[in-house]
């Protein structure tokens, strides 16, 4: 048999040309069991030598390679196209099948049908020849019967007449009805999926390769989750989808995006991930204050020491007497800032009310958490630090304080704590977060605070720039707004219409804040 790599080099340009030059690197042949895999991380297609060797008994190697490449490229340019589509298709399949393994396989099959049907309809491809000679399980046989019917090409299938007839009436190439289509598709193949599950076949990949989340790059996963957070109706829906891919996603998501310090990547509460990703969709403008760098650096906070970082900054007191990468702690230095002519953004103290009168952020979209998350993101993006004071009934211990940090995960974990119960805050807690550099204050609450007068008094005396956001309207909001009218450093915004669709209200938050923020 001629060298596969040489054949691949001649085949790839023609496949690229046929698909109008997709932005994919040259594919490669790989050893091992893999049949075909589109490694979107590197956007690199790997083709199994073993598969080609087995197939070359009945087909020319050139045809096999062309067909496999057409299949892989079709996934890239048609379906699923991106992770958001992939996750949404999976969610639609799971809603019908109520089983992770079956939903994964149904999604794989559906994406194969869409991508290959579009490819076969629009391009001249040897893909059907490969399907004709593939090994088939029960489900594969049914899908091949469908291909035979909708492509009008003999694939040597003589069963599943009725099922393929029903499956053929699903509009696979109509992108706008994919979610509805995969529901019908899953329902029709459900008995076969159950049979495959009983046989234990769902663990083995489909003949043309399966489509796992690990195929997407970190950036694509971040983008996909961001879009998904915007698309779903509630945190619970987001959790339903993401929970099944927790292992793959937690390995890939990097809260350290945009140069922010992070804790090590590990599993993350999906509610935190939801608000984190949703907040990324909104950018709040911020007015800067005159500041300039002092020119000298000072130890700011700890990070794990890694090989290559300077030894002199290692802090022996927090390193447990160890000198090992990942365990030893070192000081992260930051340049000091003083007020001057250059503009900068001060640090921010976020005060968030998570008492019982606020929405439970895990069940419904919490405007308070989202608003606070957007504010935190804005400050972090502007190179400032954020402290969080999350309170319910603070006098009874219902509070959590996070000192100034740039660790996004810690900030979100504190924001996403829900205390319920009463609403009382302690001024001394807030005082501990005041610094000489006069941080901004961002407060979000429904203002039904037991000691609201103390808060009003505090805002009347403080010199911080205060952005206060009230959720809904009540008499306490009226009192607060009335007493703050004359304060120039306090700007108040309202989030109205609680019953509105969360997404629309979110837009309002952004618009309101856009008009007046600082």
């Amino acid at each position: 048999m001629p060298d596969l790599d040489d054949i691949l080099k001649t085949v790839w340009p023609s496949v690229r040309s046929r698909h109008l030059f997709p932005e994919l690197p040259a594919p490669a042949c790989a050893d091992g069991e893999l049949r075909v895999g589109l490694d979107i991380k590197g956007k690199k297609i790997s083709i199994s030598r073993k598969f080609v060797k087995e197939m070359s008994v009945v087909l020319k190697p050139q045809e096999i390679l062309e067909g496999l490449l057409d299949h892989a490229v079709s996934h890239y340019i048609y379906c699923p196209w991106n992770l958001t589509n992939h996750l949404k298709l999976y969610a639609a399949a799971k809603a019908v099948l109520e089983d992770k393994e079956m939903a994964l396989r149904a999604t794989d099959c559906f994406m194969d049908v869409v991508a290959d049907t579009l490819c076969v309809s629009q391009k001249e491809t040897p893909l059907p020849k490969i399907y004709r000679y593939l090994d088939r399980t029960v489900l594969d046989e049914a899908v091949h019967a469908l291909f035979q019917r909708i492509w009008g090409i003999d694939l040597d299938v003589h069963a599943y007449e009725e099922l393929s007839s029903r499956l053929s009436r699903i509009p696979y190439v109509d992108r706008s009805s994919w979610m509805k289509s995969i529901g019908r598709f899953s329902k029709l193949i459900q008995p076969l999926l159950e049979m495959e599950k009983d046989y234990g076949n769902l663990d083995t990949p489909s003949p043309m390769g399966s489509h796992g989340i690990q195929q997407y790059s970190t950036q694509e996963i971040e983008e996909g989750l961001k879009d998904l957070a915007l698309d779903v109706a509630s945190p619970a829906d987001f959790e339903d989808i993401v929970h099944d891919f927790e292992d793959e996603i937690s390995g890939a998501t990097q809260p350290a995006s945009q140069g922010l310090d992070s804790a090590s990547a590990g599993s993350m509460d999906t509610s935190i991930l939801y608000y984190m990703k949703l907040a990324e969709n909104y950018a709040l403008p911020i007015r800067k204050v005159p500041m300039e760098s002092s020119g000298s650096t000072y130890p700011d906070h700890h990070i794990s020491w890694e090989v290559g970082l300077p030894y002199q900054d290692i802090d022996p007191w927090t390193s447990f007497g160890k000198f090992m990468p990942g365990i030893t702690q070192t000081w992260k230095r930051r340049e000091g800032q003083v007020y001057g002519k250059e503009e900068g953004v001060p640090d921010c103290m976020v005060i968030i009310d998570s008492s019982g009168s606020m929405k439970d952020l895990r069940c419904d979209l919490s405007y308070a958490v989202l608003g606070a998350a957007c504010a935190c993101d804005t400050y972090l993006k502007n190179d400032a630090r954020v402290a969080v004071y999350n309170f319910g009934d603070a006098s009874a211990g219902g509070r959590q304080i996070l000192t100034y940090t740039r660790n996004r995960r810690e900030i979100y974990a504190t924001l996403c704590r829900y205390f319920a119960g009463g609403t009382k805050f302690l001024v001394e807690d807030i005082d501990t977060l005041q610094t000489n550099r006069v941080p901004d204050i961002f407060m979000i609450s429904d203002m039904q605070i037991t000691n609201l007068e103390v808060l009003i008094q505090y805002f009347n005396t403080c010199k911080n720039r205060v952005t206060a956001v009230h959720i809904g309207n009540n008499e306490h909001v009226g009192t607060f707004c009335h007493t703050m009218e004359l304060r120039k450093n306090v700007v108040i915004y309202g989030v109205e219409n609680k019953e509105d669709i969360p997404r629309i209200v979110l837009g309002k938050i952004r618009q309101d804040l856009y008009k007046k923020t600082l």
Binding site: S17, R18, L20, F21, T117, V120, S121, Q122, K123, E124, R149, I150, W151, G152, R166, S168, R169, P171, Y172, V173, D174, R184, L188
Partner: protein, 231 residues
């Protein structure tokens, strides 16, 4: 000078029309016909402002539904899709429960298949009149709870309800069988003329007017012309 766009030329391949396009077009045509039949029925029925369940009215509406489906070739998948459209779609602007149920029954009765299975659990709205006039040789299985008048006017067919039904189950049925896994509501078997109703759960109430047939509750005969009704 080389034309820089030459590489983007699609080549000599002529795009062939695959059967999928034709299948989808045909399917859409049939489905549009079904939707149109329903909308015509509703338009006709809505003239009287309120749709009240009266024998003559039900018969008339069912007759109109059947007329709209004449000579149409379809199967269970179309019925399921139509129910889904009725349940929550923009393509059907209004759903009047009575005519909708009668139209679905007409679809079931005149479909190509002898055994139809409808998953009512998939829908948010209750469907009434399912199994209306189900003829001999047809079996309709309903997975989930049905609405009122389930199996009304049953005409020799076999109706299996894997769930509960509302009131007036089997009202006016002439022959055939109704099997209910769970419970039935009030006036079960009202105006019943023949056939059998078998309920595995509770019967909330048997119809006062009873002309024939049998009603079994948990395997025990509780109503027939020969047996004094026990409730």
């Amino acid at each position: 000078m080389k034309n820089p766009f030459i590489d983007f030329h699609p080549g000599s391949y002529q795009i062939k029309e695959r059967p999928t396009q034709r299948i989808i077009k045909e399917k859409q045509a049939v489905f549009n016909h079904i939707i149109k039949g329903y909308l015509d029925l509703v338009e006709n029925e809505i003239k009287d402002l309120a749709w009240v369940v009266e024998h003559s009215r039900v018969v008339k509406a069912y007759g109109a539904a059947v007329e709209g489906l004449r000579d149409l070739q379809y199967d269970q998948a179309y019925i399921e899709e139509f129910c889904a459209e009725l349940d929550g779609s923009n393509s059907i602007p209004y759903m009047i429960p009575g005519p909708a149920g009668l139209y679905v029954s007409a679809l079931v009765n005149y479909s190509q298949e002898s055994h139809i299975l409808l998953g009512l659990g998939d829908y948010q709205r209750p469907f009434h009149f399912l199994g209306y006039g189900l003829p001999e040789g047809k079996t309709l299985t309903l997975q989930g709870d049905g609405g009122d008048f389930i199996g009304a006017g049953l005409n020799g067919g076999r109706l299996v309800v894997q769930g509960s039904t509302g009131n007036w189950c089997g009202a006016g049925m002439m022959s055939g069988e109704i099997w209910v896994d769970r419970h039935t509501g009030r006036n079960t078997g009202e105006w019943m003329q023949g056939g059998e109703i078998r309920v595995d759960g509770q019967i909330h109430g048997i119809g006062k007017t009873f002309f024939g047939g049998c009603i079994f509750k948990q395997g025990r005969l509780i109503a027939s012309r020969e047996v004094e009704r026990v409730f």
